[in-house]
């Protein structure tokens, strides 16, 4: 009881412990901010995975597997699976308008099923906008211009249909959708938007030709794939010109700079994975073989006949679970469904043991693990730095207890027990910890929720101001201007336009408890010392 009273009085009358409180506040806020931003980054990474491929996928790379429509139906019949999309994932080469040739990841999709599994529709970049994006302060985004609205609307329609009308005949032609970073014809601003720029093509004469094109309007790429023979081996290159209907932005640079999405049937045809007749002639081994013509009844050289149909194939089926299902659960469901499917088609599809079934996180394990490791590393480093708070609290309490030996003596003379006195200091430490940690959480939360605004302010106001001041000072001494750039998160460099962030209550609780424990830990040794002090010594003198 007296501990509570004294704690309250010490809290309001002592200045030194407020320093300890400030240290706890800063530590708690720092850790919370770091954790939230790193966690937000990881989260953004994982959710862009979901945007790209859904929760899980079933894959048999290169050659692909058949009866995928049946498999997709089986999957969609499961109550916890929302949609499944057969796609082909392969590599090809694109020739860009400026004649650069790039290796590219090609995904052949059916728009309807692909959109149902992924966030494909939302990733289309060229679409009309009413409100500017968060960082586009001066509304430079061409998508905002009402004059562009009709054409942008058309681009969206084209993108969702994966066609583009032939300029001469108006007949819709199959078209692809490029990652927004592939061509280099879109300039990414610090506002996180794209401004189309004119491309340039180098000429053999040494001159430069300016390209007047905008991919969704009149741009095309040359796509080259290696078609597969009947055993699934890549053989002859197949090329064609593919008009571009729209461009997409997923938020992951690796994807946006290296991906082309194209209609599934087109890719199947190019790779020769479409449904095909298998032909054979009676006695095909014998080039001199004869057969009877059923119409004329005459003998004639043997003619090849279709003996069977080879079903169309895809390399991958992407799967999305109903909301609330984790990717791992979706993968587990896919596992069991595929097992039944493979049993039904034994010998026709890869068996359940060999097929690849995994999640985005699995596929990008190294990248995600790296981000997780970095998060852990940063937290450990900050944790060590914040651990100094323990010593700060220890030092402050040590001096405070030395200053308060007489009070401790008085309390002991009044009958206070040694544990009681120790408890006074522990309680006081805990109180400082609780107040400091609560303020730290509030500060951390405020900073995290406003981190983008704070960051903008640092870059747009404080940075230039500091540069101005320092340049003036350096000017007095005849030095060069000093420029300070406080823009740490430049959308031109980093992929996510804004600093991703996420304050999770669980993390906040852990940080809070750690903050309080820090103080209690710091107060522990001084508390034990106070309890061991001889009450008589301090009472003898004033």
């Amino acid at each position: 009881m007296y501990q509570a009273l004294l704690t309250r009085r010490y809290l309001t009358s002592k200045l030194m412990p407020l320093l300890a409180m400030a240290a706890v506040l800063l530590s708690v806020a720092t850790i919370l901010i770091t954790w939230s931003v790193m966690g937000g980054f990881l989260n953004a990474l994982l959710s862009s995975g979901r945007t790209l491929i859904g929760d899980a996928f079933i894959a048999w790379p290169n050659v692909g597997f058949a009866y995928y429509e049946e498999l997709a139906e089986d999957l969609e019949a499961h109550p916890r699976i929302e949609a499944a999309a057969p796609v082909i994932e392969t590599y090809g080469m694109v020739r860009l308008p400026d004649d650069r040739v790039e290796l590219i990841q090609v995904t052949g999709v059916e728009v309807a099923s692909y959109s149902a599994v992924t966030g494909f529709g939302d990733t289309l970049w060229w679409k009309p906008l009413d409100k500017p994006t968060r960082k586009d302060k001066d509304r430079r985004d061409p998508r905002l211009d009402p004059n562009n609205r009709p054409v942008l609307t058309e681009f969206v329609e084209n993108g969702l249909a994966m066609t583009r009308p032939d300029p001469d005949t108006g007949v819709p032609l199959p078209a692809g959708i490029l990652g927004v970073e592939v061509t280099g014809l879109n300039y990414r601003t610090s506002g996180g938007i794209y401004i189309p720029i004119n491309g340039q093509r180098a000429l053999p004469s040494g001159g430069i030709e300016s390209l007047d094109l905008f991919m969704p309007r009149n741009g095309s790429v040359g796509l080259t794939l290696l078609s597969l023979d009947s055993t699934g081996k890549p053989t002859d290159p197949v090329s064609r010109v593919l008009p571009i209907a729209n461009e997409f932005q997923s938020g992951i640079y690796e994807v946006d700079s290296k991906t082309l999405i194209a209609p599934l049937d087109l890719i199947q045809r190019m790779l020769r994975m479409e449904e095909a007749r298998r032909v054979a002639s009676e006695g095909a081994d014998d080039p001199w073989g004869y057969e009877t013509d059923p119409q004329t009844g005459e003998l004639r050289p043997a003619v090849p006949k279709a003996t069977a149909a080879d079903p169309a194939r895809v390399t991958t089926v992407l799967i999305r679970g109903v909301p609330g299902t984790t990717p791992d659960e979706v993968a587990a469901i896919a596992d069991s469904i595929y097992e039944q499917f493979a049993a039904r088609h034994a010998g026709e599809v890869p068996d359940a043991f060999s097929i690849q079934i995994s999640t985005w996180e699995d596929r990008n394990r190294t990248m995600i693990a790296a981000v997780k490791k970095e998060t852990a590393l940063v937290l450990v480093i900050f944790g060590i730095i914040c651990f100094t708070t323990v010593f700060l609290v220890l030092a402050i309490f040590w001096s405070m207890i030395s200053e308060k030996t007489r009070d401790i003596g008085i309390l002991r003379a009044l009958g206070a027990s040694t544990p009681g006195v120790a408890w006074l200091w522990l309680r006081y430490g805990a109180a400082i910890g609780v107040v400091g940690a609560v303020l730290g959480l509030v500060a951390g939360w405020l900073i995290v929720t406003n981190i983008n605004a704070i960051h903008d302010w640092l870059g747009e106001v404080l940075g230039p101001w500091l540069s101005g001041v320092l340049s003036t000072i350096s000017g007095w001494f005849g030095g060069d201007p000093i420029l300070i750039n406080l823009v740490i998160w430049d959308p031109r460099v980093y992929y996510f336009v804004e600093i991703p962030r996420k304050v999770e209550p669980g993390k906040a609780a852990i940080v809070f408890v750690a903050g309080v424990l820090t103080c209690v830990l710091g107060a522990l040794i001084p508390a034990v010392r106070s309890a061991r002090m001889d009450p008589v010594k301090s009472l003898r003198f004033e």
Partner: protein
């Protein structure tokens, strides 16, 4: 042994040696002394003669030297219980319920108000939960005590805002909050001028007249000692004069009872 039970406190064979580094500093060389119920006893001795040490031992704030071998054990018997042999918890209870301390330098808690300085004793006594039940009663008693010492109007003040005499009254009220049987006062007027000190003693005397409190008071001032019923003289860690109860007697036969040192003589 009927006379025994009329002693609220009886000490015998008390020795206390401090250590200054490795050097033992003997302070008490075998003290025997007793205080009767409702008695006001003054321990008179020069500065450094061991008066405070004796008082701390009687109050259970410190422990006497342990004896080796078959020498008689030191005893501090309070109402039949030997506090020299008590465990820590019992000693804490003893300090909280049976005795009240008053010091020369008041020793108030500077962050607490006057009334809180007094009730803190009750908080310690009743513990975390017990005090909830006793709060009203304790505050009432604290107020009554402070009013009886003429401090009714200063309950919410901080010690720093009070004069020396006022502070000492608060300290006395604090010592009395748990209604102890024995008040241990270490030079309660040592820091005050004669008039203020006199008033403090008047207040104590008045309270004693009302409640029958037993008082053991330490002083180096003969005139203050006169206020007591009986004076025990201490010099160089030995009782040299004072009506010792017959049945206890000096433990050290070398002591000449009756020698009169000058009270102001430097100790040891």
């Amino acid at each position: 042994m009927t006379s025994h039970s009329e002693h609220i406190l009886a000490v015998s064979g008390l020795r206390k040696t401090y250590k200054l580094g490795r050097v033992p500093v003997p302070v008490l060389h075998g003290v025997d002394m007793a205080v009767k119920k409702r008695e006001w006893v003054a321990i008179l001795g020069a500065s450094g003669s061991g008066k405070s040490t004796l008082l701390h031992l009687c109050g259970g704030l410190d422990r006497p030297d342990r004896v080796k071998g078959d020498q008689p054990k030191p005893k501090i018997v309070f109402e039949g219980r030997d506090i020299a042999a008590m465990g820590k918890r019992d000693l804490d209870r003893y300090r909280s319920r049976n005795v009240g301390f008053v010091f020369q330098f008041y020793h108030l808690l500077p962050e607490l108000t006057v009334i809180e300085n007094v009730t803190v004793g009750a908080m310690i006594r009743h513990g975390r939960f017990g005090y909830m039940a006793h709060r009203g009663e304790s505050e009432k008693r604290a107020k009554a005590l402070l009013e009886s010492f003429g401090l009714g109007h200063r309950l919410r003040h901080r010690p720093a805002e009070l004069s020396g005499g006022e502070r000492q009254r608060v300290a006395i009220a604090r010592a009395l909050i748990n209604d102890p049987d024995l008040l241990l006062a270490d030079e309660p007027t040592g820091n005050l001028d004669r008039t203020t000190g006199g008033a403090i003693l008047d207040a104590i005397a008045e309270h004693r007249a009302r409640t029958g409190l037993t008082i053991l008071m330490v002083t180096h001032d003969e005139r203050i000692a006169e206020r007591a019923d009986r004076v025990v003289r201490l010099a160089d860690g030995r009782v040299i004069e004072g009506s010792l109860p017959a049945e206890i007697g000096p433990s050290d036969p070398e002591i000449e009872v009756g020698t009169m040192p000058t009270p102001d003589a430097p100790g040891r």
